[in-house]
């Protein structure tokens, strides 16, 4: 069942109303905010330990070069320097290379040659962060420059220099091939289709750029052989296991603490060389060591996002029935394949490129290559490449609408998967759990005043004004994932949860996922409160500390609520089941005669005979007898293995004005209708949507990590890599429908990345719509004034 509740901005209803103190789901201010507004957040760089040293990394100035020699003598002689370490030093310990999350290897410190600008070459450990940086200047590295591979299109040319000669037998820059769907069936549909539209699309390389850069503090206790690592990680448990496997430290002697994280967006999923360097440095010096990268290091060396060169083809009937989609993708994976995705999914979840439409056939082939650029590939709130997939389908659907002369909203409405078709198996094998797409689309059109916008646009066009209306509809696949299909380096993507109710009825819930700003301390308290009737205030949420939480794979790909949220609900139900047995003893009735009313059990037919969960908690820990066979205490632990992914969806409409004189794009309005199933805290959900929409403005109009012919990174600072400020974004207009997931214990689907996925095509579609008087069918992101100006002059070029 789908329900709707539009919340346009400006109305009181859009403010966090905290309508009542919820004993479960509902609007509620965040439990974590009191420390943040006092400046008392606890981030990694806030960790200060006695005797702590500081680590700085020397990075390659060249994109591709052989290391001839490294002279560290002057740096080592610096009075404040305690250690200087090179790749050769690490190689002697077997630590120069580490596995990536995609079964490739990556250099911790370069030994043979450097493969991208900004690659780690050596590190210095010194008494303070300034001295560490000074000493980097004293290291003398002699490089023999090699020709770089920068253009993804020529990376496989026979004469292209081979980047990965570290891999035995490697003679080219090929990374992997991948395909999905039915090629023959798709080709056959294309053969007989009335209309076929093709469009080349580039999704440029971008970067999550969280406000807090990556860093760590390693504290190795030589006597106990115990490592404590404070780290900016979205996946503390997975990292602990990988450190154990890589460094050979016993896993029970490693404690990873992920404290408050200043934004992640996927940037803090991989293990970076800097983390490993800090561990090595602490082992070498016997002292705590802090590594905190600067902004340029963050932008130039840590996980980038996107970088897909795509050809999209769509086949349809003359009256607008979409029949098939075919695509080929050239994927730039950089120097090392550092993609953080389930191992059976080298292209992430790009396979959902069939979008929200009922097709007859679909096929994708992909070729991934290495270039002399930083590794990464899955980051920036992309839901494992669904950003790229949604951009592809939503852009070519608009191209088809242009070809057919149809309204783009109408074309989508004609082709949606219908409610009665769920669960729906797509032509690439994904089983969509639930959806009512038309309801969401029509709500967005109502909120936007779609017909009025089109009328206004027609009037403005007559006056030579450039107004555009862009429509996009997306379906995500999140909550990875079922362990039969999904693992990261052999670790099944399941999450544990532990709940303890103390004797006085207060509780602590321990999670394997880790917030980077999503408000888990509030949301998860609410999930448990809803199930067990203890107020959220009385439930403490513990996360981000491997010694104090159960194992699980962490927070990314919008998986916290779909996976860990399910675990929290189920563990609470398990505790409630035990509480029911205790209550039956307290009330001296059979279990079957008890009825649960959030927070208490009462005897069926006699509400006056009841016990609260708090009374039950005390009895569970008390001196009196418990029902036979029952252990004391009131607690439980589970590990949740999702049955399927969840499929949030949404309808977005963007209105832009383009200045005909300067080609500056102004996003005037943005209407976002999201359906994430059951809504736990609407205030937090809307906040997540707002942030993702802003990402979309960034990617569509501003953000790109560019490179010159020599492989120099041209996006290595916030002066060059442009992120939206308060002046580039409008006030957001959000609405929602609610279509619960049928297989999730509370029907929730996840919301963290929906808006980042759905908004870029809406904005690009709006800009292209505005440029229709110039005959423009497509222009690639980022739609900066100069690129829009070129498009207006009929000279649009790809950004790479």
């Amino acid at each position: 069942m789908t329900t709707t509740d539009p919340r346009p901005p400006g109305l009181p209803a859009d403010l966090p109303d905290n309508d009542h103190k919820p004993l479960g789901h509902g609007r509620m201010h965040r439990k974590e905010d009191p420390r943040f507004v006092r400046g008392r957040g606890r981030y990694v760089d806030d960790v200060q330990l006695p005797g702590m040293l500081h680590l700085a990394i020397l990075r390659s100035p060249l994109a591709h070069a052989r290391i001839v020699s490294i002279d560290t003598s002057a740096a080592a002689a610096h009075p404040k320097v305690e250690a200087v370490v090179t790749g050769a030093d690490l190689a002697a310990q077997g630590l120069a290379w580490m596995p990536t999350l995609s079964n490739d290897v990556q250099a911790v410190l370069a030994t043979d040659k450097v493969r991208f600008q900004g690659q780690e070459v050596a590190f210095v450990v010194a008494e303070d962060r300034y001295a560490a940086r000074d000493a980097l200047e004293l290291i003398d590295v002699e490089y023999e420059p090699l020709p770089p591979v920068v253009d993804v299109r020529t990376a496989l040319a026979p004469d292209a220099p081979v980047i990965r000669d570290d891999l035995e037998g490697k003679t080219d820059n090929h990374c992997f091939d991948w395909e999905t769907g039915d090629r023959a069936a798709t080709d056959a549909v294309f053969e007989r289709a009335d209309v076929v539209v093709s469009q080349d699309l580039v999704y440029p390389r971008s970067h999550p750029a969280p406000m807090e850069t990556c860093g760590s503090v390693a504290d190795y206790d030589r006597v106990e052989g115990r490592l404590t690592l404070w780290s900016t990680t979205q996946a503390p448990h997975a990292h602990r296991t990988l450190y154990a496997l890589v460094a050979g430290l016993p896993e029970h002697k490693i404690r990873v603490i992920s404290p408050d994280i200043g934004g992640g967006f996927g940037n803090k999923v991989p293990i970076y060389p800097g983390y490993v360097c800090s561990v090595v440095a602490s082992i070498v010096t016997g002292k705590p060591v802090k590594w905190m990268e600067d902004r340029s290091e963050n932008l130039m060396s840590t996980g980038f996002a996107r970088d897909y060169v795509m050809r999209g083809e769509i086949a349809a009937t003359r009256d607008g029935k979409i029949l098939a989609i075919r695509t080929h993708v050239l994927a730039d994976h950089g120097a090392f394949n550092g993609t953080a995705a389930p191992v059976k999914y080298p292209a992430g979840f790009f396979g959902v490129f069939t979008g929200s439409y009922d097709l007859e056939a679909a096929y994708c082939s992909m070729t991934a290559v290495h270039t002399n650029k930083a590794p990464g590939g899955v980051a920036y709130a992309c839901s494992f490449r669904i950003t790229e997939a949604v951009y592809l389908v939503e852009r070519i659907v608009d191209c088809l609408a242009d070809e057919l002369g149809m309204d783009p909203a109408e074309l989508r409405l004609r082709n949606f998967i219908r409610p009665e078709q769920f669960p729906y198996r797509s032509k690439t094998g994904w089983v969509y759990d639930s959806g009512e797409y038309e309801t969401a689309m029509r709500l967005a059109m109502d909120m936007a005043g779609y017909e009025d916008l089109r009328r206004e646009q027609a009037e403005k066009r007559e006056r030579g004004e450039l107004m555009g209306v862009g429509v996009a509809f997306f379906t995500e696949a999140v909550g990875a994932g079922p362990r039969k299909d999904m693992d990261i380096l052999g670790l099944g993507m399941n999450d544990g949860c532990e709940l303890r109710v103390h004797p006085t009825g207060k509780a602590v819930v321990r999670l394997s996922v880790q917030s980077q700003g999503q408000g888990h301390e509030t949301t998860f308290a609410q999930i448990v409160a809803e199930e067990i009737g203890i107020p959220p205030d009385d439930i403490d949420v513990v996360h981000g500390d491997t010694d104090n939480t159960p194992f699980g794979l962490g927070t990314y790909g919008s998986r916290s609520t779909p996976v860990s949220g399910a675990a929290a609900a189920l563990v609470a139900r398990k505790v409630r089941d035990k509480a029911r047995i205790i209550a039956s003893g307290m009330l001296e009735v059979s279990v079957a005669d008890l009825e649960w009313e959030k927070g208490s059990f009462h005897v069926a037919g006699d509400p006056s005979k009841s016990v609260t969960i708090q009374q039950i908690a005390m009895a569970a820990h008390g001196a009196g007898d418990l029902p036979e066979g029952l252990e004391g205490a009131l607690e439980a632990q589970i590990c949740y293995n999702p049955e399927n992914l969840t499929y949030p969806f949404g309808a977005y409409i963007c209105v832009v004005d383009v200045d005909p004189g300067t080609a500056v794009v102004k996003v005037r309005r943005f209407v976002a209708v999201d359906d994430c199933g059951t809504r736990i805290n609407p205030m937090i959900i809307e906040g997540q949507v707002h942030g993702g929409l802003t990402d979309g403005v960034g990617m569509a109009l501003m953000e790109m990590v560019a490179f010159d012919e020599e492989g120099n990174c041209l996006g290595g600072s916030l002066m060059d890599y442009l992120i939206p400020t308060s002046l580039e974004v409008p006030d957001w207009e959000t609405g929602h429908t609610v279509t619960p997931s049928p297989h999730h214990p509370i029907g929730a689907k996840g919301i963290g990345e929906s808006a980042t996925v759905g908004s870029p095509p809406a904005i690009v579609n709006a800009v292209v719509d505005a440029l229709k008087p110039f005959g423009v069918r497509h222009a690639d992101m980022p739609l900066t004034p100069s690129r829009v100006w070129d498009a207006m002059r009929g000279a649009a070029t790809p950004p790479i």
Binding site: G10, L15, P16, D17, E32, V37, R38, G41, P210, T725
Partner: protein, 187 residues
């Protein structure tokens, strides 16, 4: 070199290197870690503090330059155990998520309200335009500042049950929020 300044009302004297940035002086030497370091180019604004009442980016000020001057940081917004209306506004209107940009945003907002008790949405957007938030999309930050402005103008009626609750040290706010923006006609 020796540097002496007033930080959050307290005189402070330390021996520092001449090149030490104010942001590192505050964080590493005084332990005031509410002020953050997010870029090297004065673009992000997570480091904003007040220097003699003016918001400045403390990554672009030497500690030595602050000698003889007054510095105010986020840790000083709460006075006598009571949160500043700006702090309460950020809680009430969900003006923060990861919290990293929040101290800088609040210091700029406080300075704005001291000069302009009734800023328009556009004036707020311009005031914070030198700072980046990667989480909120800014709309809730704008609302937070307007909430604080309405409270300070006394237009909020029974103001800030939300804020009152947030005042309790470490105590979360789950009470119904007043809606001063709506009652003040601000939207």
């Amino acid at each position: 070199m020796q540097v002496t300044m007033t930080v959050n009302g307290e005189p402070v004297t330390r021996e520092v290197e001449g090149r030490l940035l104010l942001v590192h002086f505050l964080r590493d030497h005084l332990g005031l870690t509410g002020t953050h370091w997010g870029c090297d180019t004065s673009n992000c604004g997570t480091c904003v503090v007040w220097l003699d009442g003016e918001p400045v980016k403390s990554c672009t000020v030497l500690a030595a330059m602050a000698g003889g001057h007054e510095v105010r940081t986020v840790e000083d917004l709460e006075r006598d155990g009571r949160l500043d209306p700006v702090q309460r506004g950020f809680v009430a209107c969900h003006g923060l998520q990861c919290g990293f940009c929040t101290p800088g945003m609040m210091m700029t907002a406080r300075a704005l309200l001291d000069r302009n008790p009734d800023p328009s949405e556009q004036e707020i957007r311009e005031a914070i335009s030198g700072q980046i938030c990667r989480c909120t999309g800014y709309a809730t930050i704008v609302r937070s500042v307007r909430w604080a402005a309405a409270v300070e103008r006394g237009e909020a009626g029974e103001v800030g049950e939300a804020g009152e609750a947030a005042d309790e040290a470490g105590g979360p706010d789950v009470e119904p929020a007043a809606e001063p923006v709506a009652t003040g006609g601000a939207q």
